[in-house]
Amino acid sequence: MTKKITMSFNKLAAGVVVAIGMSQAATVSAAETQWAGFVENATYYREGRGISKFRNTAQAEFLKPLESSGAWTDVTLNGVLRATYDGVYDLNDDEFGKDATEPYLGSNWHPQGSATGGPFLSAGVPFPCDNDPTLCNNLDGYMDHDEDDARFPDFNDELDFLREFYIDATRNLDNGDQLSFRIGKQQVVWGRTDLFRVLDVINPVDYSRHSIYDELEDIRIPQWIAQAEWRMGPTGTFDDSNLAVVWNFDKFRPSNLGTCGQAYRILDAGCFFSSSMNLNLLPGAAFPGGANPYGSAVPIIHDVEDPDWALDNTQLGVKWEGVYGDLTFSLNALHYRQQLPSLHFRPLAPGLPIPATDGVFDIKFPRVNLVGGSIDYYSQAMDAVWRLETTYTHGEELPRDTDGHKETDMLRYVIGFDKNQLIPALNETRAFLISAQLFGQHILDYETDMPDFEDNWIGTLLVKGWWMSDRLSPQLIVAHDFRAGATAIAPSVEWLPTDNWKLTLGANFKTGGDETFDWSVNNGAGATPNDYEPLARFSNGPIGVANQEDEIQLTVRYSF
């Protein structure tokens, strides 16, 4: 333990040295460099598990104007540096970390059922790269973090402590239009939604930080991107018109779902990926030919096909957006890779429904083409703003029971409604923000053995108020997955005692996780159907699978 902590602090120290070095270099060369940032502690307590987060973050942001020349203007160097240490793996290592074993797969969200244990699924191995070299090798390139990686998530080979680092430059054209470029590590935000993403899919997301509940700003994984914008401004028809090309030339990175052993692992996918099928325990009679071909348990994951960097593997998007009267709109197109893993079944032999001896699935990230658009419309009659956003994708792959996966076109949409409503009985001077969203998803090539719903909807509601000159702000977030029957309720109160200090006290309660989904492997063995594992994690969704993650959360931030 001592050695690990020492090594980890060395990483942290290296990051801080780099950050400070950069800041000093910038400060020396340009006195007008603007700096801001914060230090923060987030301590969360989970019912029945104890401390689930003791995250300490230092973040610094800078903007350094550079010398402009010729037609180039507004040339700036921008950066965001972040260092995080999550002490939960040191303070509560019985529950989280490399030694936090579970009695059975999914014990953190459902009863044991008949598909875990015995010849079926073993419990997930926490932090396989600390505990199981074979599994670690199988997961190489994805969800293969060791405990130190989780403890210091910003310090890795991808230089994630460099949250953003890009150059902005604008060129004024003779006709009054502008060409603007932003090149470097950055977040590119499309879309108009909160909590869940429809159009906002250029950057992958790190769900291991706090599932879906942190601001996307803090959990998008920045990518090396070149963005060019042709800002036409007002035209004969539009009040504003802008064409943007986004080239994500970074090596592909999928979303981080959280490694087994971490406190937040969306869909509990991390533990599923580090579990095994104990097929070696079955009698020979259960197999064709009367002999058991498995000498040992079969890992769920055999390999991760992580696309190498190649020009052909980069991702490209185009967006045209503008303002037309009371409408703001965008039309979007994107060629990218699916950021959630697709599981491809590996048969023991072609046509056989039993897996290969060295792993059940390969993880792949298929190419996806997306077209979509968004609209904001202010309704004068309702004094409210309507938001619409939709995407149609081709190339996504969804899991299914009998064949691992299927490619299907997907339609997603969200209708949002925002209204500021004065409620004099509660606050005579400051209106409440009421924001509702309804997300819909339609699977066009649906199959009954898909552990998902052909049509499903998630509704969200945000009610936020402000008192004491906006220094006290309670809010309530509710999210409900209709088909999964799962609900998350997240009340919180934010208090700003001064311009520098911010305290946020919150809670997060979830219900759901009751959906089951028959696993044909289990049925075939004559066991009781209606399993939770392994497929119901998909139908219960991120809220239902987190049904035992009720938490009290306190965050203290000092900003400068």
């Binding site: 700003e217 800002r231 004065l422």
Partner: protein
């Protein structure tokens, strides 16, 4: 001097044709009310200090709310000499070119022929039921910040009036741009293309503190007064532009004591209010020479040597500036919307500049709620860059919530410089580009 000479010629020429001469005289009176003499009120002299011991002398020259502050000892008023705040000659010329061509439409909010300059230069009459509306138009199409300007930086301090504690300090940049009604900065009279026929843009960017850094507000006001503004908000932590409902226009902006609708004295549509002219009189208004005032070196210092106006009085809620006797139009504005959070505003408009240095706001019960002061600085005694611009510089503000004993104060660095407010800054795309 050239401007005065030109106007004299105009007046002289107008004398030859009596029907026009009266209108030109109105113009002369409107833009140069002190040409024939400064206001004289018994007991009020430049150099005197009005305080709780002699407040009676000012009971006819201070509005009710300010008189109460002085009477209670919350504020002492230094009386300065009345000075002429001459507006830019281009604005006066534009007014002259349209004399007699501007008229109100059938509905409140409709106007014809007013595409530049001051719409109505004639002296308002209590017998004219639409006199208040005409004065409101004069404010809306006034030379308030000229064709474009910026306030950078702009400090807002939230203060507890009882214990003087500064609870919060916001640092902004504000930018203003007239798309139409332009008289001085190229292009004149309008920026094109302008497909939605915007009249004015207001762009606000929060610089500090960190929790609201990169928040941006963009307001598009249309030439058609009957059309509601389009407003957009960019929240830095969301990195998204969101449309604002108008409910937020009457909300406490970022927790301050100020509504978006309060900006610049009144920041809404003419058609949102029922306007009533209550009379003209000589009153004390906070209009002064910035460079001669007490300045606050602690809040802001820069390479220009510029410092912002200091604040004092009870809770630090009052600008430490001098007030001068001015010709004032009192105008009452009652919201058309019965659900509006206020029952009325009473504006005290400066007759020469048509700025609104003083406003008192009354709650739905009719009780005094807020006292709104916007100090006006003469451009020739401010930053060198502002000299000769003919813009009455908004230079300090104080919004006092008299019921909550709380205030928000504002300290400006106003710059009349078109390079700071190009049209490209007033686009939705600029908000995305300027945000992180």
């Amino acid at each position: 001097m050239l401007k005065m000479s030109a106007l004299s010629l105009i007046v002289a020429a107008g004398m030859a044709t009596p029907a026009v001469a009266a209108t030109l005289q109105d113009l002369e009176n409107s833009f140069y009310p002190y040409k024939s003499g400064k206001p004289q009120v018994e007991g009020i002299q430049p150099g005197m200090v009005i305080n709780k011991d002699n407040w009676q002398k000012a009971k006819d020259v201070l509005d009710p709310a300010m008189l109460e502050f002085v009477k209670a000892g919350d504020y002492e008023i230094n009386v300065g000499d009345t000075t002429s705040f001459d507006l830019h000659a281009s604005y006066i010329d534009a007014t002259k070119e349209r004399l007699g061509k501007v008229k109100l439409g059938a509905k409140v909010g409709e106007i014809e022929g007013a595409d530049a300059g001051r719409p109505f230069v004639e002296e308002p009459s209590l017998d004219d039921p639409r006199a208040g509306e005409k004065l409101a138009w004069n404010f809306k199409y006034g030379y308030n910040w000229g064709d474009s300007a910026a306030i950078s930086p702009f400090y807002w301090k939230f203060r507890n009036m009882n214990n003087s504690k500064v609870e919060r300090t916001l640092k902004f940049n504000f930018h203003f741009l007239n798309f139409t009604h332009r008289t001085q900065q190229a292009p004149v009279p309008a920026i094109t293309p302008n497909p939605s026929n915007l009249f004015r843009g207001t762009y606000v960017q929060v610089v500090e503190p960190f929790d609201v850094k990169n928040t941006q507000l963009l307001i598009h006001r249309y030439e058609d007064d009957l059309k509601r503004d389009n407003a957009y908000l960019y929240l830095g932590f969301q990195r998204r532009v969101r449309r604002l409902s108008t409910g937020q226009v009457t909300d406490a902006f970022l927790g301050s004591d100020i509504m978006i609708e309060d900006f610049e004295g009144y920041n809404g549509r003419i058609s949102d209010m029922k306007w009533t002219f209550k009379g003209a009189k000589s009153m004390l208004l906070p209009m002064y020479n910035h460079n001669e005032m007490a300045l606050d070196s602690e809040t802001h210092q820069d390479e220009d040597g510029y410092q912002v106006v200091a604040f004092g009085g009870k809770g630090g809620c009052f600008p430490q500036v001098s007030w001068q006797l001015r010709k004032v139009y009192e105008v009452e504005a009652v919201p058309v919307d019965p659900n509006h959070p206020i029952s009325k505003r009473v504006h005290y408009m400066d007759a020469q500049t048509f700025t609104i240095p003083r406003t008192n706001t009354y709650d739905r019960k009719g009780d005094l709620w807020k006292a709104w002061t916007i100090g006006q600085a003469h451009p020739d005694h401010h930053l060198p860059a502002n000299k000769g611009t003919g813009v009455s510089i908004d230079d300090s503000f104080s919004m006092i919530d008299t019921q909550a004993q709380h205030c928000t104060t504002g300290q400006f660095k106003g710059l009349v410089d078109p390079s700071l407010s190009p049209a490209s800054k007033f686009t939705v795309q600029n908000m995305r580009a300027s945000g992180r």
